[in-house]
Structure formats: structure tokens, C-alpha cells
Amino acid sequence: MGADDKSSRRGRFRSVETKHLEERADFFDALKRLDRRSFLKVASAAFGSVAASGLVTPHSFQPVSIAHADSKSVQPFTFAYISDSHLYKRTVNDRFVNALLRAVDDVNALDPQPDFVFFGGDLAQLGQPEELELGAQILKNLKAPLRVMVGEHDWYYDMGEKWRALFGAPHYSFEHKGAHCVVLNSVVEKDFWTARNMTPMERMKTVAGLDNGVQNSFTVGAEQRAWLESDLKGKPANTPIIVFSHSPLYKLYKPWNFWTDDADEVQAILRRFQNVVVFHGHTHQVLTNRIGNIHFQGFLSTAWPWPYAPEGLPALTVQMGRPDPFNPNDGCGNGICSVHPDGLADIVQNLWNRNPITISRTYTASLGKKDKPEASTRRSF
């Protein structure tokens, strides 16, 4: 999937700001492809016409970002994340709806605005069309452009039909300021429902139960792995790669599906690159890992925190303190990721009830020797 079907991949829900920023990005892309003479012609024409119509302040169309054509380093940028909102209809449960609204307000208050906002999956709780529509409506309020990933709670009621109608294909890739970004659907489960004669709702509720042992493990699947291989084909090893997957792309704790069954195969595809960062949702906690060249960061949820898995926790993870059950927002939050020229990223975990935790790229790069995040003083309640 390339840049040509941009509209289908982002779905039809785009805010005015998103459309504006997209048009702007396209304009600058076009500029890069011009020689100097025609560039000056186009730039002055565009500037002239737009300024004449009184739409922009003069400085907004100054061509300042032209000179990074062949370098394999990233022009530093930030993106915000929101993840795992698990929405029910508002009439059923307004708490999760309000939490997502709070995250949207948080991100809209950022100044400067991030380049884009990434939603990490599990927008809905039981994959109901109403839940997904409500989520799409709320996310439309974001000022920055939105990128969306699918989670198992969005998928297993109608096998992604409604989600695809709203947001497009569940796996895609895009370039952003020199980084190659890949979004995967990592929640593919082998059919366990047909043999059991389950209704769509029974199937959904089985997958929705984190500790439900009837379901199978998550995978990326052979089809997407082949797609990923062809998507990365020909890219030099020094291309900075950013991957988004709902489940962690490694094997942490199988009984809760903190796990991707074909993680080894996916990692093998990513191994030849120097710097790879994987951002994932699903685990609802501060979670840090590194396997070889691949750095992993987990997203917080807006709905509720999960406990840490009883075994298999990566050594690099500095746990967030145990959430206080008496504060419904504790352990929840959103965050900001800053991508640096080397393609690695700092992540600021914006815990709503606590001081934010910053996990810097030097922490994972030095395998925990430098910049260790401070451990929480609140281990339990």
C-alpha cells in the first residue's frame, strides 16, 4: 500500500485541521520533486495566491524544509499517542467515554502540536458498530492528523467490517520525515469459534476476556509477514524503522496474550535494520524492552491499567507503581513520543494521576546503563 490510497487508509473521518495539514504536506512533497527554477516559480505562485486570498500569514508557506533529500537521518519530530479506550456506548458506561475525551483534550492542549496522533487499538470494548462510531467521532476532535491501528476488541464482533469501513486497511505503511513507519494488525487469531458454533457476540466476548483460555494466541500471520517483507524490500539497512503493533511483538506472557506467536519471524524481517522502534498497545502499562536492534515501548490505556504479568517481564522495564483502586484514573494516561535523527525515540508516559515518566532512547540504547527512569515510590496500596 503506497501513498496513492491515502484517503482509504485514513478513512473518511478527518478534521479540518487534518485536511489542511495533509494538503500542506502534499504541497511540500511536490516542491521537493522540482528543480530549482520551477520550484521558485511554484513557490512564489503558491505563496502569492494563498496570501492574496488572505488565508494565511505570510510566514506559513516559506519553503524551509527542502534540504534533506538523500540523508538517511530523521528530521526530528514528535507524535502523541492515545490507546486502548475500550468504549462502550455512552448509555452503558460513560466513564471510558469521558476518559477518551480527556486524552483528546490533553493532546489538543499540546503546544507545539505533534506531527500526528497515533491511536494504538482497542477503540471499542465489544466491537459494536455504535462503539466504533462513537470512538471515531471523538477522535475527530483531534487537531493533529490521526493514524489508527486495530485491536482485538475492534475486530472480533464482525471480523473488522465496521472498523475497515471507518479507518481503512488494518495494515499500512507511510514515510514521515525520513522514518519509515509500518502499522500492523497483530491480533490475528486462528479460528476457534466455528468448531464451537459461537455467535459473533460469543466470539467477541471470548477474545475480550484477557484471561480467557478458549481463544488462540495473537499472530501477525504469513500474509502480513510477506507484505512486510515486500514493503521493506530495497530499503537500506540504515533506514530508521518505526513499527506499530497492538500486541507486543515479542513473547511476554501467553496466558494473557501479552504475546505474538510469530514474533520471532517478524523480528527476523526487522533484524537487518540498524534501528527499529516498536510501539504497542494492549498491555495498558509502562513496558520497555529491547531485543537486539529492536526497541519496544508499550502504551498506557485511557480505560484501566493491567497488572504486570506474573512472569516473563523484560529486565529493562521499570514498573510504574501499583495503581490506586480508589482513583479511577490512576495508572491510565496517554503520551508523547519524540523521534530523534538516529530513528530512536524518547517516550513520555503521561500518567494522569502522577508525575510523567520519561523513558529516553539512551536508556534502551545503553541497555539500561544510562538514564534509568526513576522507580515509583508507590509499589502497592
Binding site: 458506561n93 476476556g209 484471561d211 480467557n212 496466558p255 484501566w304 497488572p307 483502586p325 480508589f326
Partner: protein, 243 residues
């Protein structure tokens, strides 16, 4: 209610076991025969002489068979074998009682830590009142204890059973009852300003995140929830009052 259901199932299984012995034994083991259809053979005789019973009924006549619950009924052609009658009755009963296998289903869905292994006690004398411990004793203890914990698991994972008004169940924050640390109760719950037992904290959760009605201390649901949560912490050392 769950226990009631289970004992129904047990009786039925017994009936089926007998039923497989021969024609109409299932009927014999149940209280009601299909007297309306004109069969007057005493049940015991029918059980003893299945062939004769089949021959005595004119072909083409349908027989109504009623299960011992007094409600489940099937109509079978005369001459149907006992196993088939029992099978038809069972199918009909399961159709009317979709949760009949709740225990097996629940255990398949949600891992339950096994109860303690008491097999070392077999053959030992446990005081004058109880005599020698048999393997059956040990199995019974295990089955019964695990049944209560399994019933707890079914409530723990079900927002409707918990009476939630916001579709929230315990497992949404506590998969496999993780992060409940029941071995620390009783303790001074700083947020509540008093000493609480595990059941108080369960009730707090039911009232607040789950937004349901608190259960009374002797409610079978609360007792089974407590059993499930404690069962899942098998192997943890008790350290009451720990924060």
C-alpha cells in the same frame, strides 16, 4: 441456584446410566411413565423384560416419556431402544438448560489453581469420628472445594452476575484474580480509614468500579468470589496487614 442445577444434572446422569441398561429403564428410573399411552407394565417388569415390552407394543404407536424433573418430555415411536430414549431426553434437557455444563465450560475458559493435594492422608486414621480416609474422601474434598471456586470464577468474569450497571467485571482489572493479594487481609485500608476483610474490599469494588449493589456476607456469590480469589493465590505466604 448453581448447586441446585448441578444436583439436577447429577440425578439425570444417574438416570442415563441406568437407561443404557435396556429399554424403558430411563422411564423406570424416573417417577413418571407415559401412562396415558396405555402402557400398563409395571416399571420393574419393563426393566427386567425389555424384549417382551417391545413386542407387547403395537408398531406405529408413539410413546411419551417424561423425565424425572416432571417437565422435560419426548415422544418416541414404540420399540425405541432405551439408549435412544435416554439420549433424546438428555438432548431435550440440555436444550432447555444451556448452562448445564457451566462447571466444565468455566474451567475450560478460566484457569483455576488446583486445590491442595491430600492424597498423602489416604489410609490414615483421622480420629475416631471420621475413621480411615479413603481415596473417595480425598476426591470429594477436591471436587467440592474446586466447585465453589469455579462458581466464584463464573461470577468474577461476568458483569451481569455481579449486578454491574456499567458492564464492568472483576477480570477487567484482575485477570486470573491478579493484583488482588488476598493474603494481606485483614489490613488497615488507608483509603477507607478502617480495618477491612477481603470481602469488604470485594464489596467496595462491586459498589464503585463495578457500580452494582454490595452483597451480604452470607451471599453465595460473595462466598464463592472469596473462594476463587484465595484459590488463585495458591503458594503465596500469608502476611496479614501488609500494605
Amino acid at each position: 441456584m448453581r448447586n441446585q442445577r448441578t444436583s439436577d444434572l447429577f440425578t439425570l446422569n444417574l438416570g442415563l446410566a441406568l437407561g443404557s441398561l435396556g429399554l424403558l429403564t430411563a422411564v423406570a428410573s424416573c417417577a413418571h411413565d407415559a401412562a396415558a399411552s396405555g402402557q400398563s407394565l409395571p416399571p420393574a417388569a419393563a426393566a427386567n423384560q425389555p424384549q417382551a415390552a417391545a413386542a407387547a407394543t403395537p408398531p406405529g404407536t408413539n410413546t411419551k416419556v417424561l423425565l424425572c424433573d416432571g417437565q422435560t418430555e419426548v415422544t418416541v415411536p414404540a420399540g425405541t431402544s432405551g439408549t435412544s430414549v435416554a439420549g433424546a431426553l438428555m438432548t431435550e434437557w440440555v436444550r432447555k438448560n444451556p448452562n448445564a455444563n457451566w462447571e466444565v465450560d468455566e474451567r475450560e475458559r478460566h484457569t483455576l489453581q488446583p486445590s491442595a493435594d491430600n492424597s498423602a492422608l489416604v489410609g490414615q486414621v483421622q480420629g475416631q469420628t471420621y475413621g480411615r480416609v479413603t481415596p473417595q474422601d480425598v476426591t470429594l474434598w477436591k471436587t467440592e472445594v474446586e466447585r465453589v471456586a469455579t462458581a466464584g470464577s463464573a461470577v468474577f468474569h461476568n458483569a451481569d452476575e455481579l449486578g454491574s450497571t456499567v458492564a464492568v467485571s472483576c477480570d477487567m482489572c484482575h485477570p486470573h484474580a491478579a493484583n488482588t493479594h488476598p493474603e494481606t487481609y485483614p489490613k488497615f485500608q488507608a483509603q477507607l480509614g478502617r480495618v477491612v476483610l477481603l470481602r469488604d474490599m470485594i464489596n467496595w469494588c462491586i459498589e464503585h468500579p463495578v457500580r452494582g449493589k454490595a452483597l451480604s456476607s452470607d451471599d453465595p456469590k460473595l462466598r464463592s468470589l472469596e473462594a476463587y480469589i484465595l484459590a488463585q493465590r495458591k503458594g503465596k505466604t500469608l502476611d496479614y496487614g501488609r500494605h
